[in-house]
Each structure stands twice: as C-alpha cells, then as structure tokens.
Symmetry: C2
Subunit: 228 residues, 2 copies
C-alpha cells in the first residue's frame, strides 16, 4: 500500500476513494444513504441490485472510507461515514453540470425545461416558512420521510400523489422536495401539480442538502432506521 514514494502512495489512496465513486449504482446508494441509515436489503431493492451485489458495493465503499456500518439485530445499517462525503458528491455534480457534455444533454432532455421549474432556494423557503404562507411537500417514500424531513412538511409519496391530492391545502403555494438535486421525484410532482392548476415549485436540492445547511429538521418519534 504505502510503497516507495509517499506522494505516489497518497495519490493512489485518493484514487481508491474516487474509484469507489466510479459506478452509477454506488452513487445511487450514496444518494439514498444521504437521507439516512439503510439496510443492505433496502438499498438493494431501491437500486435494483441483488442483495449480494449491493453488499459488494457497500463493502467496497466502506473500505474506501465513504461509508460506515453498524449492526442492529439481524440487520446491518449503512450510513455515510462523514458529511464530507456529501460535499464530495456535490462537487462531482458541479463538475458534471459545468463540463461533461453528456450530463448537460441528459439534464436538458429529461429534466424538462429547468427554467419553468426554477427552484426555490433554501434561504427563500426559510423566510416563507416563517410567514407560514407555504405548504412544504415531501414526495419521498414514507420511510425516508420518517427518518427525517423539513419542519411541518406534508408527506405524500409521489406515486400516491394523484390519489391523495385532497390532503393538500388549497390556495397556498406548494414547495416540493425529495432526495437531492438529481432526484426526479420533486420534478415530477411539480409537473403533476401544475397540470392540476396548483401553484407548485420545487426546492433547491433535497433533504440532505437542507440538513447539511444546518437548517431545522424534524423526524418521527423513535429515531429508528427504515425497515422497508
């Protein structure tokens, strides 16, 4: 490991960390773990991986120092080892947005016209939360909501949105959020709500970014981990 040249060894060690980020499934796992602890099974299901496959990716990332884990009963719960990991993925996103033509194309093509869905900044939402003039809508799955969410946020997972539309107070502007800047849930929720004639915008970033900014969060009674 720490061979001849100390500098070479150091670069090699950093390269290991970068390699651990160098797989789509692993970045997806990191996005999920940014919401809170998760079991191997849950992560596998959410990312469309086999349990053994997920376990391998997780081991690799833990070795690289990106993740940590703890045992809780029969389950092993994985988490990001440190907030700096989220900063690293944010830096990766920024480079991708600025430079990689492939990313720009995907963002343009699929994330619809971003201008029309111009996000509400965290600062702005903070101000408007104090005025009470806005409904904050969390469109992530219930377990992610339970693990932590914005203050007074209403949780309606995206797939239930159509069915549970009446739960949303009328006449107030809606700000929807989900997992992060590249999570499609809030985009789709906003598009859907606007079609229904509601005034909806999405939050800049998602729950992890809000929390990382040091803003207030709430979570369900027991701070337990997601089960399914």
């Amino acid at each position: 490991m720490s061979s001849e040249n100390p500098k070479r060894a150091l670069f090699a060690a950093f390269a290991e960390i970068a390699k651990a980020l160098g797989h789509g499934a692993r970045l997806e796992i990191i996005e999920l773990l940014a919401q809170g602890e998760r079991t191997v099974e849950t992560l596998a299901a959410r990312c469309g991986l086999s349990v053994a496959g997920a376990s391998q990716h997780l081991r690799l990332m833990r070795r690289a120092g990106l993740l940590a884990s703890r045992r809780s009963g029969k389950h092993v719960l994985y988490r990001l080892s440190d907030p700096s990991v989220l900063e690293l993925t944010t830096a990766l996103h920024r480079v991708g947005e600025g430079n990689a033509a492939a990313v720009r194309d995907i963002v343009r093509g699929y994330f619809i016209d971003r201008d029309a869905l111009e996000p509400v900044s965290r600062k702005e939402l903070g101000r408007r939360l104090r005025d009470g003039a806005v409904t904050v809508l969390d469109v992530r799955p219930e377990d992610e909501y339970a693990a932590g969410h914005l203050p007074n946020a209403l949780n309606i997972p995206l797939r239930e949105l159509s069915r549970r539309l009446r739960e949303i107070p009328k006449g107030r502007e809606i700000v929807a959020y989900c997992r992060g800047p590249y999570c499609v849930l809030a985009f789709e929720a906003v598009t859907f709500l606007r079609k229904r004639g509601l005034s909806a915008r999405r939050l800049e970033g998602g729950y992890p970014e809000w929390k990382a900014s040091g803003l207030a969060v709430e979570s369900a009674e027991a701070p337990r981990a997601a089960t399914t």
Copy 2:
C-alpha cells in the same frame, strides 16, 4: 449512453467523471495542471509516464470533462477545464483525510509530524505580507514559478535550496509553498531550513489554492506555457 432511466443515465455520467479521477497518475496530472497549462511531454516526464501513456490518461480525462486542451505549434497544451475540478479534488482530499485509514497512515508516516510543520493560513500570510515582515519562498521548479506565483515570492527550487541558501534574507521568517496540500516540496524545504537554524513555516495549500482564493498573483512577463 442516455438509456432507459434518466436518473440511471445521470448517475452513470457522474460515475464516468469519478472514474476519471480513479488513478494515481491522473490525480498527479491534475495537481500539475492546477499550476498551469502543460504539454503532454512535460506531464509524462513529471509523472514518470510514457508519452503515449500520458496521452491516454489525458484523453480519458478530457472526455470526462475534467480537462481541456489547445494546440500551440507542435505542442498540445492541456489545462483544467474549470475551477470546479480543483474543488472536486479538494473535496476528495478532505474525505481522504477524514476517513480513509490508509491516507491517515501515509500522512502520519511520511509527512513527518504535522504539528511541528503547522501551516500558515493564507489569511495570516496575507496580513504579514502587508507588514512586509516575511520572506515568501516558492520551492517549485522554475517553469511552474514562471507560470504564476505569489506576490514577491523568491523562487528557489527545492533541489537548489542547499546551494542557494545565501539568497534568502537573514533574520526574517520564511514561509515556503509549493504545488498544494499534498506536495512534499514545501515540507522538505521547511525541514531543511529549520535544520539550518532558520525560522521557516509552510503555507497552507499551495499556489493553486492561493489563486483559487482570489488572492493576488504575479507571473513572468509573457504568459506563455512551460517548455520543459
């Protein structure tokens, strides 16, 4: 490339960028390019690569959007495509320092006792530069110095330090810097100078970090690229 699921495609695109960082030699190339433009030949020599090998690494990083290049006569000059690339490597370093045990071991083992070499912050050096009570010493090779350096810095490449010691004004504190936080040049310079009884400390980060902080820099007459 941009297959079925847009989110998957996006993660895959980000993973490509991470992969492009996932090799020690490529991180070393990036550190060098953070000093300024370089030819393929120069990079190959500095990193101990064959020219063809360096060219392959460069192509890979350019495809990932990390680098850009331009032709100048017979030479092709590569550069970082954007300041966000430096931020990305900085984030990578931070994760490595915080988490990866391997990195901690290397830093402890080779970078000697960091406490004794506690760096001078950029802010502090800025203040002391205004007072004029400090000699700023650039220990990088001449061509890197020529491409850009701190205001009024004295350039004595590390390997010439012993020979040219008399060029350093007596009785003033010395602040040495080099390429960046994991460049050993300044460490070794400070260790050497202290053995000689001089009062020397090293700067936090190196030239690229100083410049990225928006602080003043100087460069040689013609803003030409390094030749060797």
